[in-house]
């Protein structure tokens, strides 16, 4: 048995016939929104979500996918999943640069700041150097301490 749900759109009223366990079937009683035309033209009872998944797995560039979905009802979760598969992070760029064995102008991504990928930047972890003292200006105590007195000594300056 199928139920009929009427969805009100600002420009048109659609009647969506829901078929349990098979998906949504669009029955257009008036002109339909553009985002439903791609699905409806195939003649298959596929839902909008299925169509979006098909496009995501097509291997198109990220920009193409985003432009295709610019007027559709793509959920934020889907966009985030698409962005993750787009390999657009700075880490991905660094991996590509390092794996290619060449050094393209990575500075163009950092606003002109110099970048180094494989260099050891250990200088900032080094302790500050000890002061330099001339041997004639460093005097050492022999350790023969002179005990002047304890707290109870009446004459504290006398050993």
């Amino acid at each position: 048995m199928a139920d009929t749900i009427v969805v009100d759109f600002p420009s048109a009223a659609l009647s969506v016939q829901v078929v349990p366990a098979t998906g949504a079937k669009i029955a257009a009683e008036s002109w339909i929104a553009p985002e439903f035309q791609a699905t409806g033209s195939r003649g298959d009872p596929v839902g909008l979500e299925f169509g979006l998944h098909t496009e995501r797995s097509s291997g198109n560039p990220l920009e193409a996918v985003l432009s295709q979905h610019a007027n559709s009802i793509a959920s934020p979760e889907l966009i985030s999943r698409t962005r993750r598969t787009g390999e657009t992070s700075i880490e991905a760029v660094a991996r590509q640069v390092g794996g290619a064995g060449s050094a393209p102008a990575l500075e163009s991504l950092t606003g002109g700041a110099g970048t180094s990928i494989d260099a050891l930047l250990a200088l900032e972890w080094v302790d500050p150097p000890a002061p330099i003292v001339s041997s004639g200006r460093a005097l050492r105590s022999s350790g023969k301490i002179r005990i002047l007195g304890g707290p109870g000594n009446a004459r504290p300056l006398r050993g």
């Binding site: 000890a130 002061p131 003292v133 460093a138 350790g143 301490i145 002179r146 005990i147 304890g150």
Partner: protein, 151 residues
């Protein structure tokens, strides 16, 4: 106690590090603070209106690099040091004698001995002295040595 070897002379306007090695006195304790004083020795014609200002900075160090006077090579020495940056003596102090005192306060068993020692200075005739006061809680040291300035 007397330190036999004096500091090397310093020239007018020269700035250099001076260090006292308190390692033998501190032992297993740790220097927690240090202070240097600089006065012009009495009974001389040299004039320095502000001798204390010749102590530019002071710090406690656990290592210093000793520069050999023979070949200039550096040797790292570990221990308990009190290091001060001394210099800027005026031309009016040429030929005079300064008395430098370094006080190091050491911490032992987590407690600091904060008592300072009053050293009765008499007429100083190239007298280098190191006086240490020890107590159950810690020890405090004061060392003084002559600093001869020359032109």
């Amino acid at each position: 106690m007397r330190i036999v070897t004096p500091f090397d002379p310093i020239e007018v306007g020269e700035i250099d590090n001076f260090a006292f090695d308190f390692t033998a006195d501190v032992g297993a304790a740790t220097i927690v603070s240090t202070n240097w004083t600089c006065v012009l020795a009495p009974y001389q014609t040299a004039v320095d209106p502000a001798p204390q200002s010749r102590v530019l900075s002071a710090s406690r160090q656990t290592s210093v690099q000793l520069r050999s006077s023979v070949d200039g090579s550096l040797q790292t020495r570990l221990g308990s040091f009190s290091v001060a940056l001394i210099g800027g003596m005026p031309a009016s102090a040429a030929g005079g004698t300064y008395i430098l005192e370094a006080t190091a306060e050491a911490e032992r068993n987590g407690r600091v001995q904060a008592t300072r020692i009053m050293i009765p200075f008499g007429p100083l005739l190239a007298c280098d002295r190191l006086v240490i006061k020890r107590s159950e809680r810690g020890l405090s040291m004061r060392s003084s040595i002559e600093l001869q300035s020359e032109i």
